[in-house]
Amino acid sequence: MGEFVLKARDLNKSYIQRSGRFGFGTTKVKALDNVSLDLKHGSTLAVVGESGSGKSTLARCLLQLQPLDSGSVLFQGRDLAELPAHELREQRRHLQMIFQDPFASLNPRMRVGEIVGEGLLIHRLGNQEEQRERVVQMLKRVGLSEADMLKYPHEFSGGQRQRIGIARALVLNPKVVVCDEPVSALDVSIQAQILLLLKELQQEMALSYIFISHDLRVVRHVADEIAVMYQGKIVERGAIDDIYRSPSQEYTQNLLKSIPGQRALALSN
């Protein structure tokens, strides 16, 4: 399998946007411009950048939720875009996603037990009883109870919903998890709990994370490596300490400067 579990090579994706007074003109917006990534087994790669820099497009393209214009995503050496539909669906259990908005990411008309168990049902893993046990076990692991299985998503708070989302993604024992701003919609106090949970689960289940965020404070706690995106390009990448200590690009420097409380920290040092 090698050191890298997921490799992305020269990803390109652009959108055509109507422009001009009557929408007759078109402008091409490059959401991804020759993006390449390597995700080490068991590590966390953070992708940071301001909104509109193409982070979420990257997340969706990596998981083949949107077609790429060109480039390839290699999971365990196989190009996902080349796989026939049924094999891609089969491989999807290894590649999961945790979404940003805990209010939009759970089907309001399904019970929590159904939501978390959907993956097991789709991949026909175990019989009904085994699936139920696995769901209960997963819910307990993320800090919910067995009784929560019968509730609907609207009965939970944002933080609890995000836990449900995490349980849904991890119930299949995936290898790679793409976290698309998993804590940016949560209160600061809840953010820490969720980040801690994600870290613990990473060690227990040998997960590799691609962690997408605009918040460098959050990234610092979870990431091993950082890739900085700006206007669809990766402008800088490296180990976390190097980037924080000596950013080489002006854009990265500005990002770091924009962390609130940073100046006070620098002064106190």
């Binding site: 939720l65 999807r92 996603m97 979404f99 939009a104 309001p108 789709i122």
Partner: protein, 273 residues
């Protein structure tokens, strides 16, 4: 669903529709006379204690005929809308889910169908077929699916990229699972509202067809053909035209109230004020 009962419009509509439905279901028990029995001695009697809505030109009891006519009107309305809704969900789901050329083809088909005046199309088609209530139901159903199609398509387009749908796709769900488990249950509200409103217009179309003699055929009673029978005697037997007219009016009103009320009650954007 519970705040439907706090909406006075919806409650009024629901009461009207339930009352008419009950009368239609229990027509054989409520009706004092055989609706098709001809009596030479009781021709064109005005409303009285014996015949509360009077009798028609063949001596038949109008109240009994109205009750049995309600069965036809409601049956045609519900079955026709059922057909239209099934077609609409099917085509709208395909168009909204797959987009691209499939969407373009279906939407242009909708545009073509909408550009044809439906009532005249139905008239033309019925003229070639034997007029029977089954033909009428099918023809009304086949010419009134366009609204539902547009509605379902629009719902699917807006739901398709919502995170919970993407999440299911990431889990490896097949298209039918995404459609039936995630998209359709979350677009049911507008579909129900438009179906209820659709029944009202189907009832009107059926009455119109029967009035023109292309709908339900004598001796079977329908509100439309009671009205037709009445028009020959309108100068001296007002009850023959008045009662079926009022029945049609109340039914259509009831469905419209229920539909509008449901829309208000089920739509979170309007239910707050």
């Amino acid at each position: 669903m519970r705040n439907i009962f706090r909406n006075p419009l919806a409650v009024a509509g629901l009461c009207i529709i339930s009352a008419i439905l009950l009368m239609a279901i229990f027509a054989p028990f409520i009706a004092p006379y055989d609706p098709d029995a001809i009596h030479v001695k009781t021709i064109l009697l005005a409303p009285s204690a014996e015949h509360i809505m009077g009798t028609d030109g063949l001596g038949r009891d109008v109240w009994s005929r109205m009750l049995f006519g309600a069965r036809i009107s409601l049956l045609v309305g519900i079955v026709a809308v059922g057909i239209a809704t099934i077609i609409g969900i099917f085509l709208g789901a395909i168009a909204g889910f797959y987009r691209g050329w499939v969407d373009t083809v279906i939407m242009r088909l909708v545009d073509v169908m909408l550009s044809i005046p439906t009532f005249f199309l139905i008239l033309a088609v019925i003229a070639f077929l034997t007029p029977s209530i089954w033909n009428i139901m099918i023809v009304i159903g086949l010419t009134s699916w366009m609204g539902v199609t547009r509605l379902v398509r629009a719902e699917f387009l807006s739901l398709r990229n919502r995170e919970f749908v993407l999440a299911s796709q990431t889990l490896g769900a097949k298209d039918y699972r995404l459609i039936f488990k995630h998209l359709l249950p979350n677009s049911l509200t507008p579909i129900i509202v438009s179906s209820v409103l659709g029944v009202a217009s189907a009832v009107l179309v059926e009455s119109g067809l029967s009035f023109l003699g292309l709908g339900v055929q004598a001796p079977q009673a329908s509100w439309g053909n009671i009205l037709t029978d009445g028009k020959e005697y309108i100068e001296f037997a007002w009850w023959l035209s008045l009662f079926p007219g009022i029945a049609i009016l109340i039914t259509v009103l009831g469905y419209n109230l229920l539909g509008e009320g449901l829309r208000d009650a089920l739509d979170p954007r309007t239910s707050k004020n």
